[in-house]
Amino acid sequence: MEKGIEEKEKFWTSDRLLDLYSNLLKEIWEVVSALIGESVLILLFRLAIQKAGEKYSFLNTLKVTEEGVWMEGFGEFRTVPPLEIHRGFQALINHLFNLFSALAEGVISREVFPKVFPKLREAERILSQK
């Protein structure tokens, strides 16, 4: 019975994190695509996913098209431990920021960071509540 509750809580935490990161990626997409266009952003997202996906394989199921970035098979993600989800997305966002800096130094990061920072704090809060 307790194990069942624990499992449910874990899923609930994973769901909340996935929801949070899913929204964050959408926000990043909206801001950056307005700055550099979709075709360049697709390229950057795919590179960052490929790089972060080497360590966090669940990220490889993220889909990127001209419409944006989204998680396909949300259900499969929720079996991933919350901490791994958090670290995986952190790695992905770090790679993205590295690419943004390589292209335009701080110009993109300055626009995106205000969106990212509160969300990362929120993710940490969710994890600490677990």
Binding site: A34, I36, S39, I42, L43, L47, A102, L103, A104, V107
Partner: protein
């Protein structure tokens, strides 16, 4: 608000110029001409992967160390984007220096790269290369600059994709198969672009029409195969007598035409005379004999002859050519307005 409208209009002109380009070099030049109206920069670069060529359009006081830094940064970005890493020695550098700043703002000989915007040229997930805007000033670019530059980059990528698609068809469509000069169709298109640039930009433009004297006689005496050789030889001499930015085309039959952008009447006359002398002094092997042929040339110029359209400019050069023929051939005539 007015400022935004003004910038959008400049952006529109830049995109139009890029879109109208026929060659990558022309595209870089068009961008280089328009970009200073939108951004303050020290160097603009386009790295084209297919030929490993880096086209740089930069401020004339740009020190070589800055050029090198810009080039290396572009190569670094391209390799970060998953492309095969390349050394600077593997890249052909084509540098065009222009005065982008007033004298009192010349670049320091020790200037270093302080700000840049570099974007991949990508369409349908294919990377053609990258474009870069560079400055020796810190924080030279902001988000609005990036937005504008990305639109320009996208247009360049689209144009490059277009170049790639049509490159084989283009060879057939724009070159004259006998002389390897541009054909009449290309000449017409090129002249449209050049007259627009001259008429609206106010820069001079000259046109030279050239006709081989007594060509019919050569054909009748030595046959058409030898006549074709004469056309090829003259085409070769013409190509070697003009500046890089000039266009040499076969207008039809034994008639050729030169478009000389930014050339005043005096310069055009000098080029025409040089061609006339060169043809006259170059013996051609026709059949079993050596023959010296001559050409007649007619010149028209904008703004001096006040042409209001490209057709008028052509008609004026043609009329001047007719005058040269009538006055005894083997001579250069300038349109006299009669």
């Amino acid at each position: 608000m007015r400022f935004i409208f003004k910038n959008l209009n400049i952006l529109r002109s830049a995109l139009n110029a890029i879109n109208m380009s026929f060659e990558i070099k022309e595209m870089v030049e068009s961008a280089g001409t328009h970009l200073p109206n939108l951004f303050e920069f020290s160097a603009f670069g386009l790295l084209w992967k297919e030929t490993s060529t880096l086209y740089l359009y930069q401020e004339e006081s740009c020190p070589p160390s800055f050029t090198q830094e810009v080039s290396q940064n572009m190569l670094r970005v391209l390799s970060l984007l998953g492309e095969e890493p390349k050394d600077l020695s593997q890249v052909a550098l084509q540098v065009e220096k222009r005065r982008l700043r007033p004298d009192h703002m010349k670049m320091d000989p020790k200037a270093t790269l302080k700000s840049y915007l570099t974007l991949p040229l990508t369409i349908e997930e294919e990377i053609f290369g990258c474009v870069s805007l560079n400055s020796d000033q810190s924080n030279a670019f902001d988000a609005e600059d990036l937005q504008f530059f990305s639109v320009i980059g996208y247009q360049m990528a689209a144009t490059l994709k277009h170049f790639q698609r049509i490159s084989s068809i283009k060879t057939i469509a724009i070159y004259d198969s006998l002389t390897n000069l541009y054909n009449r169709r290309y000449f017409e298109e090129r002249l449209t672009g050049e007259t627009q640039r001259a008429f609206y930009g106010g820069s001079p433009l000259s046109l030279i029409m050239i006709d081989i004297d007594h060509f019919k006689k050569i054909n009748d005496t030595f046959g058409h195969t030898e006549g074709d050789k004469v056309l090829q030889e003259v085409a070769h001499l013409l190509k070697n007598s003009v500046r890089k930015k000039d266009t040499v085309a076969r207008y039809g039959g034994e008639e050729f035409v030169l478009i000389l952008p930014e050339a005043g009447l005096e310069e055009a006359h000098m080029i025409a005379e040089r061609i006339r002398r060169l043809v006259e002094q170059t013996p051609l092997n026709i059949g079993r004999v050596q023959l010296n042929i001559t050409v007649s040339l007619g010149i028209s110029n904008f703004p001096i002859h006040r042409a209001k359209s490209k057709e008028e400019l052509v008609r004026m050069a043609d009329q001047a050519l007719y005058e040269a023929k009538r006055a005894g051939r083997n001579r250069v005539c300038i349109f006299s307005g009669i």
